[in-house]
């Protein structure tokens, strides 16, 4: 190999490294994720009096987090803070993606951090790091009440399941089926549901439909229909999310068991509200994602300004939307599409 071709290769390699390094530096922190007016204000870095808050949160392609984001943005405007959003794109690579966002948030040295510490144990070290740096932390949609964070805002997944089970058991149902997707945290909802069914003298089993199939309504219907056929005694279906719920309602219809098998769901979207209105779905349980976003920023902003914060976690759910309250929810949804968690 001649000297000139060797040095040429090294030059190309060095160039590639430089480009890759530059791209990595630009890519982290995902500036382009924050796409709204208040977020673009947040890109102008820390002015003296406006506090800077970094938010580590879930994927904006998930309508639930879309609603959370609306709450975050409205609060950022109302409380006049600079906000930097750090969402993950999807849940395929959850732990590494969230870890990266945590590191970015800490590296920004903001005045406060709002974080989605969903699976607390995995991210405990980041919580410790944030506290070691003296940055006030509000955990939302998850976390651990005993870890010394400034504030917590969440809905209780287990209690959501308990409520869901209570309603169906009160309607006389005893053989439950909980449609889940393998997510260990959402499985709390199924555990709560089972507890309620057992307390009423019944039972419940989990039907796991792979998360990858979630966005395919035909597969959802098919899986639930199969589950009902192979468990003919099932008379109550609780769904961990609206995509499962849509499939469950269709499956029950296909089998001609509407009214006989009752269906309920966690989370809310426009179709679910319509189904409640038409009687095909018993209820939707909301943890008010908009409020989770809004209150988290509110707690931090007021703490940074005045020095005080609520002494206990702020619990935004579960809230039951059923036939008696669905009209109000529908009106809100049509006026502010997506604010309940999916239009």
């Amino acid at each position: 190999m001649s000297m000139s071709s060797l040095s040429r290769r090294m030059l190309v390699f060095a160039l590639l490294l430089a480009v890759a390094g530059g791209a990595a530096a630009c890519g982290s922190g995902s500036d382009n994720e924050a796409t709204t007016a208040s977020a673009s204000a947040s890109d102008t870095s820390s002015g003296g009096d406006k506090p800077d808050i970094a938010v580590v949160h879930g994927s904006s392609s998930d309508p639930f987090w879309g609603a959370v984001q609306r709450g975050l943005e409205d609060a950022a405007k109302d409380f006049d803070v600079n906000m930097k959003l750090l969402p993950i794109l999807n849940y395929d690579n959850y732990t590494p993606d969230m870890s990266r966002n945590f590191e970015t948030a800490i590296g920004l040295q903001p005045d406060g951090i709002v974080a989605w510490t969903l699976v607390y144990d995995e991210f405990r070290k980041y919580v410790r790091q944030i506290q070691a740096k003296g940055i006030p932390l509000v955990e939302f949609n998850g976390g651990n009440a005993d870890d010394g964070a400034l504030g917590h805002v969440w809905g209780d997944d287990y209690q959501a399941g308990v409520l869901g089970g209570k309603v169906l058991a009160a309607a006389g149902k005893r053989h439950g089926m909980c449609v889940s997707n393998g997510n260990p945290v959402l499985a709390q909802r199924c555990r709560g549901f089972r507890a309620s069914m057992q307390a009423a003298g019944g039972s419940s089993f989990d039907l796991n439909l792979p998360a990858a199939a979630q966005s395919n309504p035909a597969k959802m219907t098919q899986g639930i229909q199969g589950g009902l056929t192979s468990h003919p005694e099932a008379d109550a279906i609780f769904n961990i999310g609206v995509l499962q719920a849509h499939g469950a309602v269709k499956a029950v219809e296909n089998l001609g068991k509407t009214g006989e098998v009752l269906v309920g769901t966690d989370d809310v979207d426009g179709l679910s509200l319509n189904l409640i209105k038409s009687g095909k779905l018993e209820y939707a349980i909301s943890q008010s994602p908009y409020l989770q976003g809004y209150y988290s920023i509110q707690i931090l902003a007021q703490y940074l300004r005045y020095g005080f914060a609520p002494g206990k976690p702020v619990i935004t759910g579960p809230v039951l939307i059923d036939r008696s309250s669905v009209d109000k929810a529908l009106a809100t949804n049509s006026r502010y599409p997506g604010i309940l968690g999916g239009s």
């Binding site: 393998g182 199939a213 199969g226 192979s230 468990h231 426009g270 997506g338 999916g342 239009s343």
Partner: protein, 361 residues
């Protein structure tokens, strides 16, 4: 091996002549089982064997539950939806290219219909045309980029998949406040795209239309030959006068259009649009094509085979839930059963090819 031995055969005039006696090959005696043997040598037979194998498997394990009209309708409905996209994707694979952007087009077109009707209050027919146009446009972009740059379609369409998804998510949120939307389709739209015959969706008819068109193109038209030639070898095909770039771009438009059609159908059946819908079709369509006998390297395959591939995939995906097996293991079962189907396919294909080789000696 000696295939034949001379034999004395009397002729009508009373003289005897020497004739070769045909010895049967591994599959069967051509004289007696001629038609069947010929059938088994067709590339689709292996795929059909796979379908029958998995279906019989589930009938044994799940019993009567799986053979009811309701159960059958569910897997046929799912297969039909997959098939609408898988058939054009398969033709594109035969020509040697991938389309990984079908997923995002499905989701985006469902949102175009949903937001078009609910937010912009367009007549649903216009919204549908816009969605179909969008899908075709994405296909055109894929085709043009691939043919002008010569980049592998795998990379080009992967990039398009991300791009279209991002645009769909951003635009949906900006327009409607969320990445999903509900709407009310007109009764006419429901009749055309979402009506049922018993439990069977009309999407099955749409699928059969796609199959018919693809089958006719492959079997009866010059374009079909061009697809096979292009997949066989780009350069030889070009040398033989095949307009390779035009063939591929046309097929990209076809896959984009079919993905948009599926997006439209799904949005009307489920009265919702969802920008994230459809990502599983990217992989599922390639799996179905492969089970159906299409070679990933290009140049080999048929539309009928893909029909069986799609059916196999539908049966496996649906059947697992009728068995009552613990559902946390579902993915493992899916993997095992798909492997079973492909092995059955492969075994029959090898037997068929061996039989053909024996005859040719």
């Amino acid at each position: 091996m000696e295939m034949s031995s001379p034999v004395e055969v009397p002729s009508p005039t009373g003289e005897t002549t020497q004739r070769e006696r045909f010895r049967p090959g591994p599959i069967g005696d051509r004289k007696r089982f001629g038609k069947f043997a010929a059938l088994t040598r067709r590339p689709e037979f292996g795929a059909l064997a796979g379908t029958i194998t998995v279906y019989v498997f589930f009938v044994i394990v799940a019993g009567h539950d799986f053979t009811t009209a309701t159960a059958t309708a569910t897997w046929v409905n799912t297969s039909a939806e997959l098939g609408i996209v898988a058939i054009p994707v398969a033709l594109l694979l035969i020509s040697g290219e991938f389309d990984l952007s079908v997923g995002s087009v499905i989701g985006a077109s469902s949102m175009i219909v949903a937001l078009g009707v609910s937010h912009y209050e367009l007549p649903i027919g216009i919204a549908i045309l816009l969605a179909l146009g969008f899908g075709s446009l994405v296909g055109l972009v894929n085709g043009l980029v691939q043919s002008t740059t010569g980049l592998p379609s795998f990379v080009v369409t992967l990039a398009t998949n991300f791009g279209v998804l991002g645009v769909a998510l951003g635009a949906s949120t900006a327009i409607g406040g969320s990445t999903a939307a509900t709407f009310y389709p007109s009764p006419a739209a429901v009749d055309v795209f979402a009506s049922k015959i018993g439990q069977f969706n009309i999407s099955i008819l749409w699928w059969l239309v796609v199959v018919a068109i693809a089958g006719w193109v492959m079997a009866k038209t010059r374009f079909g030959n061009w697809i096979l030639a292009t997949g066989g070898d780009n350069e030889s095909a070009t040398a033989a006068g095949v307009p390779v770039k035009r063939v591929k771009t046309t097929l990209f438009v076809a896959t984009g259009l079919s993905a948009a059609l599926l997006g439209v159908i799904q949005s009307i059946i489920y009265v919702t649009g969802d920008a994230t819908r459809g990502q599983d079709f990217v992989f599922d369509s390639i799996i179905a094509a492969t089970i159906g006998g299409v070679l990933l390297g290009g140049g080999y395959g048929s539309a009928v085979g893909v029909v069986f591939g799609v059916a196999t995939y539908g049966i496996v995906n649906g059947g697992v839930f009728y068995t009552g097996w613990p559902t946390v293991w579902v993915q493992a079962f899916l993997g095992g059963l798909l492997l079973l189907a492909v092995l059955a396919n492969n075994t029959f294909r090898k037997l068929a090819l061996a039989a053909r080789k024996e005859e040719d000696k």
